[in-house]
């Protein structure tokens, strides 16, 4: 059996950044396993611009952003296998994978970085009634068809869900000659970035109907139309508000789910809110030496933050392999997301292991205007930051320092919450 210091599952933005960082932190024996035919992951089909403002201080398209990291990985001589599917990983970090050339094979890793990304929620998960004809696609599948294969899934389009991929696809389909009739969003607010609503919908006069959903799908072979209805505050359709839209295509942009089947299989503990692993300050899971980053950990809206997070995972995995990671000592401080804060990544901080600076990322459960993002060290409020608005569609962060934490030698819980002004 071959062995590597670090095996990275997934060669998308998270896997690439983790690999580069692990290498820069002194690990030479690194292997990336990628199931697709090229590195770069989903960025390869995200041909729109808007990537990299934080990382490279310029606005890149998805493939360009990916190429920057691919070039770095190539330059650093990082090994990777393409068209290779990881079948499972044992808790002892034996990775079983498969491809055409090598068949099924096993690789022993000292550390594993989970970077498998996420998948799209399907129609089934929403229980949308109606027929099941051709012409219903998740936005990402349509994005692949249009951007990678040059194929048009349809001519007249309704989009359910105002996630960013759906918004981006509204503009893409318009450019390629389709008529996008409407975007319906179940929630009273959009799940996408404001910038995308303006530049992908408003620019082209595509209406966004908030608090609306699809209540019927018509067409036995190919989609013929969908019925939208307004929903009440519980998300239930309001009778009498139904409106039929003829269309041959329904795109679904209704959420992303971290793809953790492999993690589950190896016994990684999950956070039910994020559907991703529970990790500590090192982005390490409950299994020692198994790290997670990117959308497999929690769904991000900006790839720049994926890269940043993945670099942290890569660095910590390197430290783990080199045995220079503080194992003992320090306090384990639990994070406690409450009052509008749905989760935090990480969920636990060890005061000895943590770096000088630590970024805690989180999402809120609703739209809050003129509020405060507050952080309590046990009962003492240590951060109280005024915000004009926080919304579920945009990931939030707070930054803590080691120095700050060490001032509280008895600290047990860090509570993060939204406080109304």
């Amino acid at each position: 059996m071959k062995s590597y210091d670090i095996v990275i599952i997934g060669g998308g933005p998270a896997g690439l950044a983790a690999a580069v960082s692990a290498k820069e932190n002194g690990i030479d024996s690194i292997l990336i396993l990628e199931r697709d035919k090229e590195l770069g992951g989903i960025l390869n089909q995200c041909i729109h611009n808007g990537f990299g403002l934080h990382t490279f201080k310029e606005e890149l398209t998805g493939p360009e952003y990916a190429q920057r990291f691919i070039d770095q990985a190539e330059k650093l001589g990082i090994e990777y296998k393409l068209n290779t599917m990881v079948m499972d990983i044992s808790p002892q970090k034996t990775v079983t994978a498969m491809n055409r050339q090598e068949g099924m094979f096993e690789i022993q890793a000292k550390a594993v970085i989970l970077a498998m990304g996420c998948r799209e929620r399907s129609r089934g998960a929403l229980n949308i009634p109606g027929y099941r004809p051709a012409g219903i696609y998740s936005a990402g599948t349509a994005q692949r068809l249009v951007n990678m294969e040059g194929l048009m899934p349809g001519r007249e389009v309704v989009i359910l869900g105002s996630g960013d991929i759906g918004l981006i696809m509204a503009r893409r389909m318009t450019f390629e000659g389709a008529k996008v009739k409407v975007v319906a969003e179940l929630m009273p607010y959009s799940g996408g970035l404001k910038r995308n609503i303006v530049q992908c919908l408003d620019d082209y006069g595509i209406p966004l109907k908030l608090s609306h959903t699809v209540v019927d799908i018509k067409g036995r072979k190919r989609l013929e139309g969908v019925t939208l209805a307004e929903v009440d505050s519980n998300g239930k359709p309001i009778p009498g508000t139904e409106e039929f839209y003829s269309c041959d295509t329904l795109l679904l942009s209704v959420g992303l789910i971290p793809e953790n089947e492999i993690s589950n299989g190896m016994g990684v503990q999950m956070n039910p809110v994020t559907s991703g692993p529970e990790v500590n300050e090192s982005l390490e899971t409950n299994i020692e030496g198994v790290f997670a980053c990117g959308n497999v950990l929690h769904v991000h809206d900006l790839v720049d933050f994926v890269s940043e997070e993945a670099a942290t995972a890569g660095k910590n995995a390197a430290a783990y392999v080199k045995g220079i990671r503080q194992a003992g000592g320090g306090r384990d401080v639990r994070l406690n997301p409450v009052d509008g804060v749905r989760y935090t990544v990480p969920m636990m901080v060890n005061t000895a292991r943590m770096d000088e600076n630590l970024t805690i990322r989180f999402r809120v459960g609703g739209v809050y205007k003129n509020c405060y993002v507050s952080t309590y060290f046990d009962d003492e409020r240590v951060i109280h930051r005024k915000r004009q608005i926080v919304a579920p569609g945009e990931m939030e962060e707070i930054r803590l320092t080691k120095e700050q934490l060490l001032k509280y030698p008895d600290l047990e819980t860090i509570t993060v919450k939204i406080e109304e002004a």
């Binding site: 390869n44 041909i47 729109h48 611009n49 606005e59 890149l60 398209t61 998805g62 493939p63 360009e64 190429q67 249009v146 951007n147 990678m148 294969e149 040059g150 450019f175 390629e176 970035l193 404001k194 910038r195 609503i197 303006v198 530049q199 408003d202 620019d203 205007k369 004009q388 608005i389 926080v390 919304a391 569609g393 945009e394």
Partner: protein, 121 residues
């Protein structure tokens, strides 16, 4: 006097902006809750620009399509003309990031360039 309604994209707040204009002259910007809204509104009503991204077909490459973009912002009114300039365009592999696919797209003076590497088969 002309009234233009915009949504600010400077932050998730998405302030509804109202711009009063007299010909090309901006009389007032209202609805914004911070200075960024004012800056955004003035640019958007006088000189709105966008990057255009799309794809073109590749012949003899490891992929069927290559993604492209206008190298810089083009006037918003020229967006569809830039897209149309790509209709029927086919490019032989290899293609590399930055290669010019369509020079001076739709008379904007801006080139459309490849945003992905596609090697020969």
């Amino acid at each position: 006097m002309e009234i233009r309604k915009l949504t600010c994209i400077s932050c998730p707040m998405g302030c509804p902006l109202t711009v009063e204009m007299e010909g090309d002259e901006i009389i007032s910007v209202t609805g914004n809750t911070c200075k960024r809204g004012d800056v955004y509104a003035r640019k958007e009503v006088t000189d709105p620009t966008r990057i255009v991204t799309s794809t073109v077909k590749v012949i003899g490459g490891k992929a069927d399509m290559v993604s492209v973009k206008t190298r810089e912002d083009v006037p918003k009114g020229k967006v569809f003309d830039c897209v149309k300039a790509l209709k029927g365009v086919e490019i032989k592999a290899p293609v590399h990031i930055g290669d010019i696919i369509v020079p001076d797209a739709a008379g904007t003076g801006i080139d459309i360039v490849a945003t992905k590497n596609v090697e020969e088969v």
